[in-house]
Each structure stands twice: as C-alpha cells, then as structure tokens.
Symmetry: C2
C-alpha cells in the first residue's frame, strides 16, 4: 500500500512521525505549507508543531497557498507560533490576532507570492511541508486536492517534508498540471490558451534528496463550510442570468459565455449554481477553487471543463464526486495558483470573474477585506487577479448585513481593494448595475437605483445630491463620507435616524 | 512630395480640407482620435470641429490614446462638443468641465480601452481620425510620433480620416510595431518576450476603402511641458539609485536592472534622467511615453533599447533627436498602448515601474488622480497597468505641496487608485520606504519615518498611535481619517495647529 504511494524505494527510509518531522523546524524559519481553501493542507506536522510549542516556544513565518482546514491556523495562533503569515487566511482566531497586531499578516494577490520567492524578494523557504497523494519513481510529488503554491514551495525550499495522505484518492494522480514561468529575462509566454490546456508535468519535479521526512496520514480534507442558497442569492443569480441573456441578445456573448471564475464563499457559489437554471451550455471554468457549484453544473450537463487550483467540497458533495471520480477527472485540471490566477492567462481567455464584496460605494469601489475599514476578514485572495484582468468583472453581495442594520452600499468605502476601474457589474438581491463606460456620477445613479436596499436609498441619494453640489469628478462630502461606518462602529447600525 | 507620403495613388483623390472632413462628423457620433501624451495627435480636423460647432452645435464621444496637444481638448470643451471623453486627458479647461459634471469622463487603464471596443462593449467607432507620417502602397497607415490606440481605432472604425503631417519626419516609417491580440476564444500569447521584440507590422493594415478623407498638415507636435529637475527630484533619484545599488549588492538585480517604465511628468522624468549618474549600464525601457529622459540615457550611453507608445519631447530635445534620428531609430520601437501597457508583457518582462503619486497614505495606498479626493487631475493613465504587474512598483512624489501647506503623506487617501497590494516602494525627497513583505502596521512605520516631511511626521505618528490603540489590521480613526483633507479644503492647509 505505502509502496504504491511512495514509489521511490529509497524514500521509504524517510518515513517518520509528525513529532520527529516537527523537530526539524527551528525558531525564525520560513515555512511554505500546502493548502488552498481548506484543500490539500498539511494535516499532521502543523498540529505537532502546535503541540511542541507548548513546551518549546518558537516563531515562524508561514506561507501557504490560501486558507487551511482542520483549525490549523487557530492551533498555530493559540500556540503563538505565527510571527508572520501570508498570503491569505480565513480563521476566526488568527483573524483576531492579526487585528490585535500580534501576527503580521501580509495580504497578497494570490498569483504574486511565488514571484516574490522566485526573485528572492521573499524567502528563502527553509522547509516546504506538502501534502501529497503519492511520490513517483523519480521522486516527483503528486499533490492532492490542491496545488496552490506547493509546487514552487517544493522547488524553491531548501528541504521538503511530505505528508502522504492515504485518505486522498490515488486517482488524483494525473489531475494536476504543474508549469513554472521561466526565470527572467528569458521568460516565455505561458502556453495556456484554453481552460483545458495541459502544458506541464502531472507531478512536481524536484530533487528527491531534498525530501528529509515523510509522514503518513489518513485524515480527509475539512469540508467546506458553505451556506445553502437562499432567496437573496437566488435573486442575485436571477439578475445575472438575465444580464447574460441580454448580452447574448446584443451579440456580445454566445450561450457558452466566456470562461467563468467564482470566488470562494457562499454567495458566489450559489450564484454559479444558479447558472444551471439559465439557457447556457458548454460552459467552461477558469477559476481558483472548484466548489460544490462546479459539480452541480457538471451534473446538470452545463459545464464541459473546469480549471482550478483546488477542490473544496461539502461532505455530501465530496462523497458524490470522489465516489465516482472517473466521471469528472478528464474534465478537470488543477494548476499552481500562479497559473490559475495569472493576469496573462485571465486576460487572454477573457474570463468572467464573479467575486464577493463586503461592501461597495456609490462609485463602484469595492471593499473585500476590511470590516469597518480597519479589521481584516480573510484577505484579498485572488479577487484582484481576476477583477483587474477579466473580460467582465462582477461583484456580488447582499444589500444588507447584520439583520438590516448595515448597508452594503455606502457613500465611500473606508478600505479599497478594487477600484472603480476594475468593477464592471455590481449585483445585489435588489438588482444589477451595469457600470461599463460610465463616468462616476452616472455610476452613482445606477448603483443607488439598482443595488441599494430601499431602507438606505434615500440617504444615499441625499448624500450624492449634496456632494454633487460641491462639485468634482467623484463628488464627496469628506466630513460625512465615512460617517456611516463611524456610526456602525459606535452605535452598531447605519440606519438613518428617520427610520430608527 | 505628397506622393511620397501617400503612396497609394487612388487615395490622392481623397485629399480635402479639414473643414470638409469635419462636415462628416455628425451629432452623437463616437470618434477615435490619435494622440498619446501630446504626440501624434490629429491637429487640423479637431480644430475645424471646434470652429464648426460655433455655428453648428453638436456633441460627440471622443476616445483618444491619452492626452492631446495644441489645446485641442480646451477648444473642444469651449465649443461644448464633448459629451463623453475617455480614457485620459491633461487639459485645464476640460478638467474643470469634468469636475463641474458637464463632460462625462471615463478614466480607464490605458491598456483596456481597445479591449472594450473589440468586444463591442464600447463603440462602434464612427470615424477614426488618425495622424500619419505616410500611407503605404497597400493603404497601410504609418503612424507618426505615437501609436496609442490609433491602430485599433483604424481597424475597428466604420470610416477613417487621415491627417498626413509633413512636419513629421519620413524616417518615422519603420519605427512602429503594430500587433493586435486575436479575438477570443482563439487568442494566442502575445509574442513580445523582450523590449526589442518586433512581432507585427510597421504600419496599420486596413481596408483602404475605409479612408474617406485625407487632410495634409504641417504643424509639429506640441512640446512637452516638463519642468527641469530640482533639488527634490535629484534627492528622489539619489534615494532610488542607492536602493537599486543595494538590490544589486543583495544579488536580486544586476547592473542592467530590469526593463524600466517611467510615468509621464516632471518627477518621473527627472528620476529616470538621474539614473545616468548611477553605476547602471545596458538599461532597457518598456514604457509608454519616451520623454527627454529616455534620450538623456541614450546619450549617456546607459540605455540600449526603449519600447514605448509615443515620443514626447521638449523643443530642444526634439531638435536633438529628430535632427539625428538615424542614431536612435534602431534602438526604439513604438507599439499600440494595449501592448506597451499589457499586463501579460509587463509581468513577463518583470518591469520596474516608476510612477508619480499625488499623495499616499501611511499604509501605502496611492491617490494618483483626485485632488482632495473629488476633483480629477488627469486620470489613472497607464500607472495601474504597470503598478499591478511590475516586478517592482515604485511611486514617487515630493513630500510637500502648495508651498508646504499640504502633506503628500496622509492618514488615509480620500481616493484610491493603487491599493497597498500594488505598491512596493515609496520615495520622496525625504527618503525611501521599502514596503515589500510588510504588514500594514509595519508599512506605516516605514512610510512615516522615511517619506513624510518633518513638519507632518509628529502628527502622522500621533494619528497612527491612536489608531493602533483602537485595533485592526489597518488601524484608522474613521472620524478623523479624512480631516486633513477637509481642513485643506476649508482652510487651504493641512499644517497642524501647533505649527501654524
């Protein structure tokens, strides 16, 4: 069994315990760890690290693909191991430590982290800790349910610790397409020209002598914590379907649309699932995380191919997909996040990007990350990679939060992740604002009319009217622009006095 | 003479006056006009349009490459011709009309406009009005001192009006490299792999039957209005030279650096010229506008090749360059702005982008466009194309404006063009802040310490300290964050009370 998973016999000697592997990690090291949106994360060694730190305190810089499962970020935070963390996280405990200023969090575009490593602006990585489905005869690493940054971590790290996870299906082998952009100045075009382009290796080619420890595990990926579609997400999906139908009618799209990307999270996932109810067919995805919605679209016969960097599913969907994996395997590829999110490829393919906003302002600037403008939620993730380079950049959110006390449409966002230049379409359950080729004053009218909740429409219009009287290309009343958020901070609500 | 410039005899019949050509333009049309940073702009027809509108009012949507010379934007504004204008401008009169809400200005990343045209999200263009150095035997258009968006305008427009400018050197022919990304879904990689890659035609290939009028002109391009270097810009250049030397010492760069981009304007131009005083050699540029500094570096023997979309020079520099053009010609290429600014190529080459900020905040978010957060200056131009995709994204500005009453380093920028994710290095005459791989709280310390003027340092530190006490990944005091700008608006100064 193990010999099927570790097919280079010399490496069998490297099998050890998580505790022993953990002893290799020294204070101050930079660690590159697998894991992207809970999928394919290292599961044993980080937990052993947290255990060890109880009696032997140490600090590291931890770089991953994206978020981790199994409460690993919580355990590492509680063990005070994390000095620095990048490029994304989604853990409640870690988030709190970041917001207290205890963990230095570097929030990066997901396509960029390995560029910084490759050019020695970051790093070097002391240890890569990578979950694998197998190691080939040549010592090549077969990733499991995510690629993320694992391939570059393994290639660039001084040493590698592998977790062979027996619970990950052996059939994952062949799913991955590992390609590295060349070193500058001799870098050539990335040859991905379609969602289903295969341009690299099905494993991560490394020097097997760098593998210093192998830990055998058998724990499954954490299930995605996605919420079910509701009336609001159905309404958002409905608005988008009508918009796409209209674009088809205008001759700008055909019914196969363009390659689709959907950000992680309940709303984008629900919206994508909703496309199954439209007239579209032969859809393709060029995305980062393949969620339940991807397989809903496959099962509905709507989707012909999906490219991503990870597969993150609910427990029920994982059983359905991995129980019958041959049905899906030839229609899927998993790539390094540098390639799944690469500006070059996203612009070439003309991806339609659907990402979730925390809030947006009347001119279409989007806050994806900072609650109240100050407190980090998760991170920008890949939303910037897609929004900037997409054929159509779409942001979705519900118009209200906190039981209606908070409006997601505000006069001015107190933190900008996506500028108005990168935002084409905004959708809430109230409606859709098409902002293409509009000036800011025109954008404001569309956004207030179509996206704001009726409870806040009048106050937004009033702000906009008074700001316009003061003039400017993007009119604002600076003394009032952030007052909605200040009121939310101090009184827990943005609801105008007249409605309270 | 004319036959050398219009080498397709059948087209000689199309020669007409600017007034006659202007009569073709109808109310409501969309016009694509040549011109990029004052270079290669149409000079006769737009002025005739302004004249005609005095007795025959009409409105158009005007799309250009970037800014125009010859006060054309002023004249068109005063004639009330501009209903809509995109993607960039730099005219005082037009700016005022935009800020009054009279002209709808769509401020776009310069690489993106023709993508919108090609996919019918914008357009169609009724007339392209293009300045040319010549028309070939096949009817191909040889642009003059800029390409900008002219090639795609000509290809996509229903009809074309050409201005043959006899004052533009015939030697410009052969300088241009006209390449168009293919239509999706069959688009292939852009084959530019080095600054000097030539991948297209030396002229714009079009159906010559689309040329409906040719106007012969002989007026030179407007001279650039660049200011001479001063002590502050010398100091900024000095900080950058020391930074690059340090990167070389660390083995991250060699003395040829990476391909350089410098934004339009006095500060970036001065900084680039300053590199002539460093130890660097065999430099290359992959930029949008080739200013005086480009030719200073050529003449200093420091620069081996420059790729751009336009050549915009002072009068003296233009005489030097065009008086001896054979010396430079084989070391220069002019490309469509879609290619000079394309994310794919910028990321591939690893460009070092140097752009000018109006102001930046303590976390490194940059405002490039909106004075006081509301009033448009010029537009984002290509700064976003470069900053997002650069190997190193550098923003420069003087730490003070308005005779010291305004700080360019502020608690929170009231308009964000470049988010902290896209800003690696900030430089003022005070010093340089290296923000790579730093969390926001760490960035603030670097920026306040190295970039802020001493007059404002204490107030910035005080704000930051009090904000940190309230917590958050990016600490702010929302009720105070924009108060510096509000004070500047009402009192004309940001100077703290204790110093006034």
């Amino acid at each position: 069994m193990i010999a099927d998973r570790i097919r280079r016999p010399a490496l069998l000697d490297k099998i050890t315990t998580a505790e022993a592997a953990t002893a290799l990690i020294k204070d101050g090291m930079i660690i590159g760890m697998s894991g992207f949106t809970r999928a394919g994360d290292a599961k044993a060694v980080p937990i052993a690290m947290a255990e060890r730190a109880k009696t032997d305190p140490f600090k590291i810089t931890l770089i991953t693909g994206a978020s981790l499962g199994h409460d690993v970020d919580r355990m590492l935070t509680e063990a005070h191991i994390l000095a620095r963390r990048m490029p994304f996280q989604a853990d409640r405990t870690l988030r709190a430590a970041i917001n207290r200023g205890e963990v230095m969090f570097i929030d990066q575009h997901l396509s960029e982290t390995v560029e910084h490593l490759r050019s020695n602006q970051l790093g070097p990585i002391d240890y890569a800790i990578i979950e694998a489905a197998a190691i080939t005869e040549d010592g090549g690493i077969v990733p499991s349910t995510s690629v993320g940054n694992s391939a570059s971590f393994a290639v660039l790290a001084k040493k590698i610790i592998i977790e062979i996870n027996l619970s990950q299906p052996a059939e994952l082998e062949g799913l991955h397409d590992i390609y590295f952009p060349g070193r500058r100045p001799s870098r050539v075009p990335i040859p991905v020209v379609a969602c289903d382009s295969r341009v690299g290796f099905p494993y991560v080619p490394i020097d097997p002598d760098k593998i210093v420890a192998i830990v055998v595990t058998d724990e499954k990926d954490s299930a995605s914590s996605i919420e079910a579609p509701d009336a609001d997400t159905d309404a958002i999906a409905g608005h988008l379907i009508r918009f796409f139908e209209d674009e088809v009618a205008k001759g700008r799209l055909d019914l196969t649309l363009h390659p689709l990307q959907a950000g992680i999270g309940s709303i984008a996932n629900s919206v994508l699932s909703g496309l199954a109810h439209g007239p579209f067919h032969h859809l393709r995805m060029y995305s980062e995380v393949l969620q339940d919605s991807t397989f809903d679209l496959f099962d509905a016969g709507k989707l012909v191919f999906a490219s991503g960097s990870s597969i993150t599913l609910s427990t029920a969907c994982a059983e359905r997909v991995f129980g019958d994996f041959h049905k899906y395997k030839e229609h899927i590829v998993l790539r390094p996040q540098e390639i799944s999110n690469h500006p070059e490829v996203i612009r070439r393919l003309g991806v339609i990007g659907i990402n979730t906003a925390l809030e947006f302002d009347i001119y279409g600037n989007v806050n994806s990350t900072h609650v109240g403008g100050t407190h980090m939620m998760n991170g920008i993730g890949g939303s910037g990679d897609f929004a900037r380079n997409a054929y159509l950049s779409i942001f979705v959110t519900k118009s209200l939060a906190k039981e209606g006390r908070i409006s997601s449409v505000v006069p001015m966002v107190p933190h900008v992740d996506h500028t108005e230049h990168d935002v084409d379409i905004l959708v809430t359950e109230q409606g859709l604002a098409d902002l293409r080729e509009l000036a800011p004053r025109e954008r404001a009218l569309q956004i207030i009319e179509h996206c704001a909740h009726p409870d806040f429409k009048e106050a937004l219009s009033d702000y906009f009217r008074r700001a316009c009287a003061r003039g400017g290309h993007t009119p604002h009343l600076l003394e009032e622009a952030l007052s909605w958020h200040e009121k939310a901070r101090t009184a827990g609500t943005m609801v105008p006095l007249t409605r309270m």
